[in-house]
């Protein structure tokens, strides 16, 4: 690398922005592309990109709101384009949902305020940056990035264009999780000692994805599945239908393993509980084989521990978290149930009634829509998401290398570890890029 390039590295390009709180000073609707052409009472309009089973839940949420309207879908798979169009048109009793083979056609539309990005992980950051460049607000499924560099670039792009970003880390708005996080933040647990985040099950999505390829199959016609577009920024490999049918997880080119898959939800809650949305842990020590049980022991600069682990939970559901202080502990998960230390049992409110998963998603979507109206930052904004993901990538890198790593959150680099630092990034396949 040239001397000048060394002094103006891509780390510097984004690192400064990655750490700071989101600098939004103009209400977001002012920066939205439709500013000046629509009345405030107008519905907020959305398009969807890469809508599979998970994204369909978000489309359903939009369809259920009187103040929002879903207008169009873009997908490289024709079966998914048609499935979403059918669902949307049935809901609105018309034939208005447009379908596009490419995201460019959808992003070019001036009448769309925001996009739902629910592609595979490999596309999340490049697509978010393209959407930001088009002036769209973004709801993006998690994990939001494939690397530390992507996390930084994502936040930089959102800040650059002043649009709003909500990561699909909906538990930040789930009532049971909010209660647990607030107890940690407000001191009810005493001085915080340790935050535990569920890292899934190592037997399903191990912490170290494979570099293998599945056997080659004949590529379908481009109109049926556009394989080149499906791969997008990922390195080329031969087509196999299993990837396209949702079995792309567990492959290094497409997936960050169990730590990123689950940590993007659960470490995210710990970040907020520790009031650490603007930073990351400084130490990462992996333990275990590439199966269950596995752990990554992390530590924040304020001394609080963060422990990624896939085992020894109390059985309160997926995405469990446990916060421990010197005055007690609290643990909760996707069941909505909450368990606490004996001294705190009298302080628990009655449990919320209803389907915890659906309610949590609903609260998260309402947070996003209300923020688009007000110009406020949503709970899972780009700053919070980027810093959570950087921490998860650091834990993932420590696990891949099998050694303890020290991280400098200011310089955004591992201390004295060239190999780990090189793992902060990976090259995107042309023509996709991070600006």
């Amino acid at each position: 690398m040239s001397d000048k390039a060394k002094s103006v590295s891509r780390r510097q390009f984004t690192a400064g922005a990655a750490l700071a709180a989101a600098p939004l000073f103009i209400p977001s609707h002012v920066l939205g592309q439709r500013f000046g052409s629509t009345a405030p009472s107008d519905k907020i309009t959305f398009g969807g990109i890469g809508i599979g089973s998970r994204g369909t839940s978000s489309v359903r949420a939009v369809l259920s709101y009187q103040d929002a309207r879903f207008l169009a879908v873009a997908d490289v798979r024709n079966d998914r384009r048609e499935a979403i169009k059918t669902m949307v048109d049935q809901r609105y009793q018309d034939n208005g949902c447009k379908t596009y083979n490419t995201h460019e056609e959808l992003l070019d539309r001036d009448d769309i305020d925001g996009v739902i990005i629910a592609t595979g992980d490999r596309w999340h950051t490049p697509m978010s940056i393209l959407a930001a460049k088009a002036g769209k607000h973004i709801y993006c499924e998690k994990p939001c990035s494939m690397t530390i560099e992507e996390s930084q670039a994502l936040k930089a792009a959102v800040d650059r264009y002043g649009i709003l970003y909500q990561a699909g880390c909906q538990r930040r708005n789930g009532k049971n999780f909010v209660l647990a996080m607030n107890w940690a933040r407000e001191g009810k647990l005493g001085k915080l000692k340790a935050l535990h985040c569920n890292a899934g099950t190592g037997t399903i999505w191990p912490p170290k994805p494979t570099h293998d390829w599945l056997p080659a199959e004949p590529e379908p016609a481009k109109e049926v599945v556009d394989w080149d577009r499906w791969l997008g920024p990922s390195p080329w490999r031969p087509y196999n239908s299993h990837y396209v049918q949702g079995r792309w997880r567990g492959y290094f080119d497409f997936h960050g393993g169990g730590i990123l898959e689950w940590g993007s939800h659960t470490a995210d809650l710990c970040q907020y509980a520790n009031d650490a949305d603007d930073t990351q842990p400084v130490e990462y020590e992996p333990q275990g084989a590439n199966t269950t049980p596995y752990f990554v022991y992390c530590k924040y600069a304020n001394g609080v521990e963060l422990i990624h682990r896939d085992a020894f939970w109390l059985g309160l559901g997926t995405c469990s978290v446990r916060f421990e202080g010197d005055n007690g502990w609290i643990e909760t998960g996707d069941s909505g149930k909450i368990m606490v230390s004996d001294n705190l049992k009298g302080e628990l409110p009655p449990p919320e009634q209803g389907n915890a998963f659906n309610l949590t998603l609903h609260y998260h979507w309402r947070d996003f829509i209300e923020c688009i109206k007000s110009g406020s930052q949503p709970k899972s904004n780009a700053t919070a998401a980027a810093n959570t993901h950087i921490g998860c990538h650091a834990a993932y890198i420590a696990y891949q290398l099998g050694r303890k790593l020290t991280w400098d959150p200011v310089k955004q680099e591992f201390v004295n570890d060239d190999e780990a630092n090189r793992m902060r990034t990976r090259e995107l396949r042309a023509p996709w890029r991070l600006v």
């Binding site: 259920s64 800040d159 049918q245």
Partner: protein
């Protein structure tokens, strides 16, 4: 409560059984990567130089060299930059290597590469923040290959510094849709100035990009960034 949380059906019917998905096929021996990902740099370089190595073996060797390669790996990786199947993998391996010979390797491709390979090389130069490539990138901004022009504009934005005058000139000499990309690259360029502490250069650029002749999305973004910079 939203309509999203639907009430349960009045008459619960048993859900139809989900169709069984076929099992994921076993990985064939020729596509198993572990044996390659554990090799040291000299062994990985030998894979790249061996005419009997498969594309799979070479692709994985490139990826691993991204982590453990040094200047000794550059010639073997650079030799693959013109290979349509392996060019991206070679770039994947080369970009993280901290040696000036990598920049020379990418610049050398600019006179011969075409189509997507050319775009990829220009993108790599931007990723490397290669200030020495600014003059070499400039002609692509005005060339007939629109994809190469987009790549060059994006790379100039990332390089920043000496690329800023090139972008300002391009704002005068290009027309939409290319000009919109030039303006967007200007935002990136200004951000780089700010991150390096060169505030005045950043503000000058933002001010230019906030003028009425600039496409609306970029103009609003430039105003937003001026306010943000003022606050900091």
């Amino acid at each position: 409560m939203s309509q999203q949380t639907a009430a349960p059906a009045k008459e619960a019917k048993p859900a139809p059984p989900k169709p069984q998905r076929p099992p994921v096929p076993p990985v064939p021996p020729e596509f198993q990567a572990d044996r390659i990902m554990k090799l040291d740099a000299p062994s990985l370089i030998r894979i790249l130089q061996d005419p009997n190595s498969s594309e799979f073996e070479k692709s994985k060797a490139c990826m691993q060299l991204a982590l453990v390669g040094d200047k000794n790996a550059v010639p073997a990786l650079a030799a693959l930059l013109s290979n349509p199947k392996l060019s991206h993998y070679a770039r994947f391996g080369l970009v993280p290597i901290p040696d000036p010979s990598v920049d020379e390797a990418f610049r050398a491709t600019l006179s011969t590469a075409k189509g997507t390979l050319l775009v990829s090389m220009i993108d790599a130069i931007g990723q490397r923040r290669d200030t020495g490539a600014v003059e070499a990138l400039k002609p692509f901004v005005y060339g007939s290959d629109k994809d190469a022009a987009l790549a060059a504009i994006a790379s100039l934005g990332m390089i920043s510094g000496p690329a800023a005058p090139v972008l300002l000139e391009a704002l005068q000499k290009t027309s939409d849709p290319l000009r919109k990309e030039v303006a967007a690259a200007g935002l990136v360029c200004a951000e780089m100035f700010l991150n390096r502490g060169e505030r005045q250069q950043a503000m000058d650029l933002y001010t230019r990009l906030s003028q009425p002749d600039i496409p609306k999305v970029v103009r609003l973004a430039a105003m937003h960034n001026i306010l943000a910079a003022e606050r900091h």
